[in-house]
């Protein structure tokens, strides 16, 4: 039996950021009591009870905005239900404005050993424009506090393509974060999703954010800068000092088992005959009614996932694995072309994207999928 990863979703926020399209709700405090009660029952009733767990990721929403006792009870329940390994990686996502010494200490006491801060930027003007509740000083203060309390595995999320972003500002933000001792940086391109307030803002003023081309150039500069400073790009958007890669996220990308608890949480369970991805519903009523979407993975789905997830990681995908699923990627005419053009390269059995082309990885992935599906 492989070791499980557990994801716990906390769908609450103090306020919704302008770009946010995730399952999270602000002003739903009255639902918290009921939610956690249900969440704990869901964990207790898990059919995977007793399995060994080596990663836990508490994400959101903003897990740090709820009473820390709730977090404590979640972790206690997991420990009572599963076999939590001593060296398990336990992460919690925090917003810089909603942590204090008491909260972080309590997290520490209940076993959390990795903190992921939603920093996004250290530019106050930019933070205000996207509706974040913190500023530069709060972000740096929170990181310093976590360090002082003994957390030595800290991630900062950075967002690229935000209003007012320039190469200098983004590189300087990264430099300062490294100086404050973060060990991991997730750098994501802003995705403007339909239905978000940001989508409307940009529709009215297309120059509210820099162009894709500008953002990609900045991204490339940032990636170089981070690599030079010992943060290796182990996944398309993730950079870490050696040994600080996020074990939980690696499970997603390498296709290992994980189970999700809570609203909108996802699980991957590999079975003897069929693998299934299971998603809890995105709204409270349906979640409380235990409504789930089950997506069975057939051979082509597995092939697509292997290529898609593999190419986004430094590790690439294995040709042999694909062959065992019946797909000889070498026969795809784009494969040869991309090889010749230096867009992808082979490393033994594995195929990887030339990091120069990470920005267009999607295009490359689509072109390497089986031609006839």
């Amino acid at each position: 039996m492989s070791k499980l990863g557990i994801y716990v979703h906390i769908p609450f926020c103090e306020s919704k950021c302008l770009y946010c399209d995730f399952a999270s709700f602000s002003g739903a405090e009255n639902k918290q009591e009921q939610y956690f009660q249900f969440l704990l029952n869901e964990i207790k009733g898990s059919q995977y009870k007793g399995r060994e767990v080596d990663t836990i990721f508490i994400g959101g929403g903003t897990p740090s905005c709820v009473k820390p006792d709730y977090i404590e009870s979640v972790l206690r329940t997991i420990k009572e239900t599963f076999v939590l390994l001593d060296d398990a990686e336990i992460t919690i996502e925090c917003n810089p404005n909603s942590v204090d010494e008491r909260k972080l200490s309590l997290y520490k006491t209940c076993g959390i050993n990795r903190i992921s801060f939603g920093v996004q930027s250290l530019q106050d003007e930019t933070l205000k424009k996207i509706g974040r509740l913190h500023n530069r000083d709060m972000a740096l203060g929170a990181i310093a506090l976590a360090r002082r309390l003994g957390f030595n595995n800290i991630n900062a999320d950075l967002m690229l393509g935000l209003p007012n972003a320039t190469e200098e500002k983004v590189l300087s933000d990264a430099e300062i974060l490294i100086g404050y001792g973060v060990t991991h940086i997730s750098a994501y391109m802003l995705q403007v999703e339909q239905g978000t307030p940001l989508f409307e803002l940009i529709r009215k003023d297309p120059e509210f954010v820099p162009s894709d081309d500008e953002s990609v150039i900045i991204y490339e500069k940032l990636a170089n800068f981070l690599e030079k400073n010992g943060f290796l790009r182990y996944e398309i958007s993730n950079f870490a000092k050696t040994g600080y890669e996020c074990k939980h996220n690696l499970k997603y990308w390498s296709g290992e088992d994980y189970i999700g608890f809570g609203l909108a949480a996802h699980s991957l369970i590999r079975g003897k005959k069929v693998d299934q991805r299971i998603a809890n519903s995105k709204n409270f009523e349906e979640y409380f009614a235990e409504k789930k979407t089950i997506d069975k993975l057939y051979v082509t789905d597995k092939i697509v996932e292997k290529i898609m997830l593999g190419l986004r990681c430094k590790l690439g995908f294995s040709q042999r694995e694909l062959e065992s699923l019946g797909y000889v990627v070498k026969r795809n005419r784009n494969f040869k072309k991309f090889l010749e053009q230096g867009i992808i390269f082979e490393d033994g059995d594995r195929v990887k994207i030339n990091p120069k082309y990470y920005g267009v990885s999607n295009y490359i992935i689509v072109n390497l999928l089986p031609e006839d599906f």
Partner: protein, 601 residues
Amino acid sequence: MDKLSHIRNFCIVAHIDHGKSTLADRLIENTGTLAKRDMQAQLLDSMELEREKGITIKLTPTRMKYTYGGEEYILNLIDTPGHVDFTYEVSRSLLACEGAILIVDASQGVEAQTLANAYLAIDNNLEILPVINKIDLPSARPDEVKSEIEDVIGIPAGHAPCISAKDGTNIDHVLEMIVKEFPAPKGDVHEKLKCLIFDSFYDNFKGAICFVRVFDGSVKPGDKILMMQTGKTYDVTEVGYFVPNMQSCGKLSAGDVGYIAGSIKTISDVSVGDTITHAANPCNEALPGYKKVQPVVYCGVFPVDGAKYNELKDALEKLKLNDASLEYQPESSEALGFGFRCGFLGLLHLEIITERIEREFNLDIITTAPSVYYKVHKTNGQVLEISNPSDLPSTVEIDYIEEPVVKANIFAPPDYVGAVMELCQNKRGEYKNLTYLDKSRVRIDYILPLGEIVYDFFDSLKSRTKGYASFDYSMDGFSRSDLVRVDILLNGEKCDALSLIVHKDKAYSRGREIAEKLKKIIPRQLFEVPIQAAIGNKIIARETISAMRKDVLAKCYGGDITRKRKLLEKQKEGKKRMRRIGSVEIPSEAFMSILKLDDDE
């Protein structure tokens, strides 16, 4: 009772939107052919597309019973298409009739196709009954329109019924006039069988069905019939009338309009215009039939998915059965693979056929820019007839080229004469004549190159005259013209499916517009892609598509891999609509889009 004297065969002709189908519906309703509850608006427009576009494409016959003066009459109505593209189908139905109702809109008056259709009817020796429709409109001016008909067309209109087909006003008057005005069919039941096939369609159970008008003799199930043109014989399995659905009957005899089924398996064995007679006792002489119609517009039709070539072929075969005017032959293109070069009666016809292929046969297709038929005189004396720009020989081999021209007549209010003439001048038109019909209408005659009309003439005319102008044209031979082929190169490689033939004076602007348009339509690729327009080796326009920089999927949140995979699969699906020219991917819309360049821009 003499049966023949109690039959009336007639059709309804009109300018588009003057109310043909609505009047047809009223006639069916008033004669009690169908119960009111079975009526649906525009009953005879049975094709989904016909209802949607509000136009009639196919001929649809209906048999009605009407009692007049205590005697029962059989009225056979053949509905006809109104659009200029389908003039040919109108002329087909005219041969099966003795009379034609000419509908004229009481507020719009005589329009270009009113005139064209009236002349067609006169040419076919039909009795014409003018009917003034839409008298319910506040702007109706029936008396003025009556005198317009007399002045412009030159037929008496004083007795014309004034009706509102929409409201059902005076429909009985029309029915009476049909009986009184239209002659009964001539013919002899005891003569040898002689039927005209005026249309056909394919029924999955009964095989090919012939729509016929019986001129002499009679035919019944069990008879052995001969198609005089093809020489094939069949056993009749069923005959019947349209009411308007097919209803079998014992026999069809002289004067009747109906259908014959005979387990005719092969689509191509029914030739519209052919004469049916008895195999054992054939008539002496076939009916004159129809002259073969020449397509005026050609374009390449290719399956988006190259593997579906055979499905496309089947679809065209099936469509051809119901549409004799559709022509096609295999063609191959470097860019688009195997497909067909199809000939159409006009742009609307092209649009309808391509839409039907997509809808009724569920096939995704790529169409290339429409082209006309050119006569290329080579220096060695040879004359080539080409419709595909790729077939144009190199400039040194060409002595001169001739292009088809049309006689165009445009009806418009006097205020728009300037705008219309400017448009015709832009389209390389040659001015012929200008006639003031009355104070509200002017007729403008031009000779125009067909190739210019094929582009966006209709739309431009409509927008320049706020929709008040109407237009009709007829082919008028060929005219020598200074034409060149503009080629489009993508990343240095010529894309044959994007080539087009244009007048020399327009080549530069057209080349530039196409390059600009393609820049907008072709998505960015991994590498920079130059787009060039060229005449021979001379580059006349250039644009550049810069390299794609960003195509990355968003963060997968909380392990939601499924969403990401679905996005990828969607993107992959979109790729199927792309064609590859060398290393460049082009969306299939690109091939048609070069047609939609706005001249006014």
